[in-house]
Amino acid sequence: MSQATQDTAIRTGRVTRTLIYLVLLLFGLFYLLPLYVMLVNSVKPLEEITGGGMMNLPQVFTIEPWLKAWSSAQIGVDPTGLKPYFWNSIKMVVPAVIVSTILGALNGYVLTKWRFKYDTILFGLMLFACFIPFQIVLIPMARMLGIIGLAGTTWGLALVHVVYGIGFTTLYFRNYYAVFPTELIRAAQIDGAGFFQIFWRILLPSSGPIAVVSIIWQFTNIWNDFLFGASFADANSQPMTVALNNLVQSSTGVKEYNVHFAGAILAAMPTLLVYIVAGRYFVRGLMAGSVKG
């Protein structure tokens, strides 16, 4: 990868530049403020928070709230901490992301390289899936899950997210494959490769950037989803987001803000990690195909 060229389109004086950076710095600090508050208060004893001074650094440093949020806090009726729900979320997210990405890739492959009559109309209809509000599908989806016997299960939740995500993943892969040279597919056909062989051997190995985009997008959306989780999961299959809500709602007497903060950070951690690890590929993938060479 070549470095982005650092062309300065507009020449600015030193004063203007200082001003610009100052304002940017201010915005940046303001933007980071919530994270600061969460971090700082998650390592304070409760008295320090209730005594006022949310913005202060902790006088006594403790990781007790983190441990409590993870393994012993009251979630609904059981004092289990967020741990089991974290695993619920993982069990939901991983298959949902993998399946929806692979299906999206297959759809993109068919829609661009195995064109058929009315394929653009079909693609247009699939795009609609990106605009359907969550609320509309709740009741029909609950009915469907009941019929196929997946109501109240992690698998059912994963299925819902796969179905809801296909629209997005198809859009990504279709647009990526639209600029993938068709001559390569034809060459592979002449070489004797079949439909799936072309997909696995030629197309997928060249889909790294867009696969990263699809995975990040799906991962954050599914992980952060609350509505589907609250609607379709039972007490044993609730994802992290629902459990976090229950943690905050179901306090026994005192509101343990420090535990809540720690829980919230735990819930946000995986998406943060995904961005940090794969973020630079994300931008690269979104830009793919826009510039030749």
């Binding site: 040279p181 034809r186 592979a188 002449i190 070489d191 004797g192 190995p205 060249s206």
Partner: protein, 370 residues
Amino acid sequence: MGFLDIDNATKSYGAVEVLHKVDISVQEGEFLVLVGPSGCGKSTLLNMIAGLEEITSGEIRIKDQVMNGVHPSNRNIAMVFQSYALYPNMTVGQNITFGLEMHGVPKPEREKAMQEVAKLLQIEQLLDRKPGQLSGGQRQRVAMGRALVRNPDVFLFDEPLSNLDAKLRVDMRTEIKKLHQNLGTTIVYVTHDQIEAMTLSSRIAVMNGGYVQQLGAPQEIYDTPANIFVATFMGSPAMNVVPAKVTVLNGRPHAEVAVHDGSMAQLPFSQDNLAAWDGREILLGIRPETITDLDGADRKSSNIAQMANRIVVTEPAGSDTFVSMQLGGRDVIARMRSDAEVAPGQDFNFAVNMEKAVAFDPESEMRILP
């Protein structure tokens, strides 16, 4: 019966017919070039031979086997694409052997075939590289290697040289010709470059608007083009086509053409069969290299006509000097020796080799002479 028979092949998209009853029979070991401007249907025809596009009606046969509906991989053909279409995720070696692998050839045999082809094309040192690390010429070689390794009945080339720079293109052209001479394979080659067509082919099919305009040996196409399209498409600079009137002087048909000041030059035809056109308008076709100065005229020609005309522009190109003039109301280019003494504005005595002249019917644009 040829080795590859294209028998009344037609292609339509919906109601639009883009190829009209193409009929070509290619012999074994022949190098057929399909040439024409973009949109003439040449690539469509090639894709139909490859099986990448359906045939609407008619038949394509390879070794007397009807290929309609047969999958591309079962036709025993290989294709070299304009973009080379090398699989970017595989090494050169894997690219070359991918087809063999897909056809279930065991690994030791694949390796052996790969080594042979790599040696033939001198790409042995590149086998472990990815296509992205290769230069244009190297990619071209790998693409040919991928085609050669399968030892196909017919090679299909789809404008394989158009992505190379001018010098490399000439080198690779020679290379392809050498390869054809050494291996004696049957090749169908698509190009829009008439020089490639002339230099490479054993036969050319000139195509335009979905029709084969003329099918023949390169020299035949050059000397006796079937119509004005072929005449002006083949050759660079293009053949000069000027309106002329047939007059019979002393029992011999002449072309009467207006020179720069409106006076008439009489150019005698070599053949007598134009006498029937006495007094009628024709279009006279003269190749630029057949208009020269008197010293540069073809000594073997039995029919050099002289014509006085004014030079408008001279363009020295090193090996030749191009001279333009007004003839029959049109711009006409003459290709002269570089040391011909010419200057713009000068009245000059040109020599026209009328043995090579061609005449066309202005109505149908078909050749009437020779």
